[in-house]
Symmetry: C2
DNA sequence: CGAGCGATTGAAAAGACTCAACCACCGTGG
DNA sequence: CCACGGTGGTTGAGTCTTTTCAATCGCTCG
């Protein structure tokens, strides 16, 4: 379970809120939000929620990154999405009326706020802008996943890796991509060994450089070309 | 473009409405719906909309089946979803504010009603039940696609085919699955030749039987076992 | 210092794809 | 009525990608 927050964040000052679904909140709404949320500190590799459990609310990422994944038959993880600061995690489950179909786990130390299901649904009911933002978000993600499925079905592992690195760079912004080889493989949808061999190829082709586990992209254009996109 | 309807359907009597998002409509709402919709007959293989074009409204399937697909780099189709009677097609694009990311084409003769974007959005704004139904639908599909991605990434083609046949049987209800081998391959995410070979294997294993192109499932349990689900 | 995890490499096997050819069926036009 | 062309279905052979299994290495942590 999450430990006590080592730094309390107020929604008003929350930098991550600027690029979240709450960005359009007026001062009054922000105050209400602030009074309802609880703020927690998460260590690396702590779960926010697990597949099969009952959704109780949403998680608002202040800092840190979280992986969203499903498990296949043999328990192998398939990473569906990586969330970074400002994203609200787990809101789909607020509407489905079903247990979580995916799990969420921190990849780094995180500060994450929690808003209960009833508080969240109240906000959605009363705040049209929030609601429209959510419907838009749901629709956009649905389209993204159609593309994801198509890539998975039609692209080679090499192409998918190139494309994934580009996507991940967007998540990591100005930092370097920093994932275990296994997580990266589970995002690309391949075996860890295959992933490592392809990373080596990319290094030899001067597309990337590795610093221990961190990956630096040297040629986004080159990767785009490889990805066939 | 669609031809004139050969059979005008009123929403009130529409059997498909019973299992659609409009099922909870009161008489008054149904009347409003009926006055706004236009009804069209579609021949086999006619497009409802194409990837990249601008969404103008939603399509309500009275009868017939429609495939929703994306195209990969080399133009190969990836079928994301098959819609049957009662389903509303294309409503995600009403909220995303972007051009279609997928295409939709009839697989058989269809009777399909059209509701303009503004009329549809008006209904969503004013009808809470409809809105909640839509949010639930969006959330459920998002979860379904996470499973789809996981299957695509981790299962063999043989496993995916077994699983796909079970899914398709639900779409085709008491009828036999009736798709071109190519469409089936594009749903499973494989090459047509591979698909045909696997169908042959399944026939030899007494899991299915084919009647020309139609596929009859002899052992759902057997397929489930093969699918590893 | 030893255990253990994550990263890496090698070799062999399996799965799937591509290419090429052929067949079967169907509707058309001569 | 029949030859023709086209589409969809099927089969075979060869190739390539990717996986699997096994082993090694480096590093951190207790």
């Amino acid at each position: 379970m999450p430990e006590k927050s080592h730094r309390h964040v107020t929604c008003e000052n929350c930098l991550s809120r600027q690029n979240s679904l709450f960005k359009s909140f007026c001062d009054e709404d922000v105050e209400g939000l602030d009074s309802k949320k609880s703020c927690s500190y998460y260590k690396k590799n702590q779960p926010l929620f697990l597949e099969g459990s009952t959704p109780r609310g949403v998680f608002c990422l202040n800092s840190g990154k979280v992986k969203i994944f499903a498990r296949g038959e043999e328990g192998k993880e398939q990473i569906i999405h990586l969330s970074a600061g400002g994203e609200i995690v787990g809101f789909r489950a607020m509407f489905s009326g079903e247990p979580y179909k995916v799990s969420a786990t921190t990849l780094e130390e995180c500060n994450i706020c929690f808003i209960s299901k009833s508080d969240f649904l109240d906000m959605v009911d009363t705040n049209v802008t929030l609601r429209n933002g959510i419907m838009k978000e749901l629709s956009t993600e649905l389209a993204d996943r159609a593309t994801f499925i198509t890539n998975m079905a039609q692209k080679s592992v090499r192409e998918r890796l190139a494309f994934s690195l580009i996507l991940l760079q967007d998540v990591y912004k100005d930092e370097m991509i920093n994932l275990t080889r296994e997580d990266l493989a589970n995002f690309v949808g391949t075996a860890t060994e295959t992933l490592i061999r392809l990373l080596k190829d990319f290094k030899e082709e001067k597309l990337i450089q590795t610093h221990a586990r961190k990956i630096e992209i040297l040629s986004k254009e080159g990767l785009l070309k490889v990805s066939g996109a």
